[in-house]
């Protein structure tokens, strides 16, 4: 969506047009879902977070000043909703909660059973490793390394300076690499073999 179309929809949303707000969400929904899923580790929790973020966004659209793009603003709301969700879950430790099963459900893809099993295993391992990260680092690495946001956009979404964001991404990578060492070794071998 170009920026002029986005601004028009924002103005209509601020005037109370829910359809316009839905259209804004629609433009970012796939990335928002991936982000929510990567942050929480399950469809059910991602669903909670998305619903909450959508509602918060709708309620707060009049406060959106247009300094950032709508997507960045919405992702910031989504990150906060994920943090609130985590606090509500309270005692549930990061990384727990049916991640493996639901993660597997989220992976469709390869027709070959072996490939499919490998894809499931990788998906689950990656998700488990993500869930073991501190929340700020998880958010940072998902925004940048998974979703390809610029450092400036990700910093805006996380509400932190760009330098802090860069450190979070670097540290998250270090931790993820340690957790996923067996997969990195095999990925490295496959890469060199090509």
């Amino acid at each position: 969506m170009d920026i002029d179309a986005e601004r028009r929809l924002v103005r209509r949303s601020q005037a109370g047009d829910r359809g316009a707000f839905d259209a804004l969400i629609r433009a970012h929904r796939d990335r928002a879902y991936r982000l929510a899923y990567r942050l929480t580790g399950s469809h059910a929790d991602a669903d909670d977070v998305l619903q909450e973020a959508w509602l918060r966004g709708y309620r707060g659209i009049t406060e959106f000043g247009g300094r950032a793009r709508f997507g960045t603003w919405f992702f910031r709301i989504l990150l906060r909703a994920a943090a609130s969700h985590r606090r509500r879950l309270g005692r549930r430790a990061d990384g727990e909660g049916g991640t493996a099963l639901e993660g597997s459900e989220a992976v469709s893809g390869a027709a070959d059973p072996q490939q499919r099993a490998a894809a499931h295993e990788l998906h689950d391992a990656l998700q488990e490793a993500l869930c073991s990260l501190p929340a700020d680092q998880r958010g940072a690495v998902v925004l940048v390394a998974f979703e390809g946001l610029s450092y400036a956009e990700a910093a805006e979404a996380q509400g932190c300076p760009e330098g802090t964001l860069a450190w979070r991404v670097a540290e998250a990578r270090r931790r993820l690499a340690r957790k996923l060492a067996p997969y990195l070794d095999s990925a490295g071998e496959a890469h060199h073999a090509m």
Partner: protein, 322 residues
């Protein structure tokens, strides 16, 4: 250059965000520091792995359902709805109304359940259990029904008997300490959806109430159904969070109108154990009350079906007191 700074720059380099000048200084550091060189190699391998992983995705029906849920929640907020969106506003209000009734009902829960228990004891309510082989798995179903159930006739006749206005039905269950309610709103859409004159719109509100988390709307999708269809709709939902997360498959059927009565049946299937509970009873359209029509206890779980009828624009009835 210190290793900490080098690693930040290495990480930025992986994302292609590293200025040339920094790139040169990082290269010089890597030649002298095997630890950072290892870090760089691991980061590249990690990024390849991320590229190989399948991204989670939701299908279109999920977004439609989530959008409807947000609409309901926004309507409950009293949030503004744009002029011209009369239909979606109506759906929102109906589902919100169903939720409202639920909360009122929950206040009087104990006395109503006691009344239903008495009815069960005197035989007005019956319960039968059947076991079906479903794809090689034994699936048991419990049917709880009221003695005064009309004979089924053509579904379309039942729809036509409803007239122009809305009928609201509610059912709720208690399982593992969590109460789950379903509010169902059905109304003819002929005037709102000119292109699909025979279609009906159904709004469902599913609410869970737990002692520790309080009431929570978990679903309020809107579905379009056609008269004469054998099964009006079937909906699979995931509700709740944490250890109490349950999956329900809910089916709602409207039966026939006979002697001024309309049969209402609600089937709730927690997908985790596959045991279906069907609650069935009869109501009089337009009596403007909330009535308990079916109850039973299966194991530790209590099941009850309440039916509310009221016309669009009216406040929901608060229900009978036992």
């Amino acid at each position: 250059m210190r290793c900490r700074n080098a690693r930040i720059l290495i990480s930025r380099g992986i994302d292609g965000k590293l200025p040339m000048a920094d790139n040169a200084s990082v290269q010089r550091h890597l030649e002298k520091c095997p630890d950072c060189a290892h870090y760089a190699e691991r980061c590249r391998a990690l990024q390849r792995l991320i590229g190989q992983s399948v991204a989670p995705a939701a299908d279109r029906s999920y977004w439609a359902e989530l959008s409807a849920r947000v609409a309901v929640a926004a309507a409950q907020d009293g949030a503004q709805t744009a002029p011209g969106l009369r239909l979606s506003r109506l759906i929102s209000c109906l589902a919100a109304g169903a939720c409202l009734i639920l909360f009122v009902m929950l206040l009087g829960e104990r006395s109503r359940v006691a009344q239903l228990r008495r009815e069960t004891a005197r035989g007005a309510l019956t319960s039968t259990t059947t076991t079906t082989d479903l794809y090689g798995f034994d699936t048991s179903a419990v049917l709880i029904s009221h003695a005064q159930q009309p004979e089924p006739t053509e579904q379309r006749a039942a729809f036509e008997a409803l007239g122009d206005y809305y009928q609201g039905e509610l059912g709720w269950m208690v399982q593992d300490g969590a109460q789950t309610a379903l509010g169902v709103s059905v109304y003819p859409s002929a005037r709102e959806v000119a292109a699909k004159e025979e279609a009906l719109l159904v709004g469902i509100a599913v609410v869970t109430v737990t002692a520790d988390r309080g009431p929570r709307l978990i679903s309020a999708p809107t579905l379009m159904i056609l008269p004469g269809a054998e099964a009006n709709f079937r909906l699979a939902e995931t509700g709740g969070t944490g250890p109490r997360r349950l999956r329900y498959q809910c089916a709602y059927e409207r039966g026939a109108a006979a002697d001024g009565l309309v049969e209402v049946a609600l089937e709730i299937t927690p997908l985790l154990d596959g045991k279906a509970v069907k609650l069935s009873g009869a109501v009089t359209p337009g009596d403007r009350t909330t009535r308990p029509v079916a109850y039973n206890r299966v194991g530790d779980a209590h099941y009850a079906l309440f039916v509310s009828t009221y016309e669009r624009g009216e406040p929901p009835p608060s229900g009978d007191q036992a």
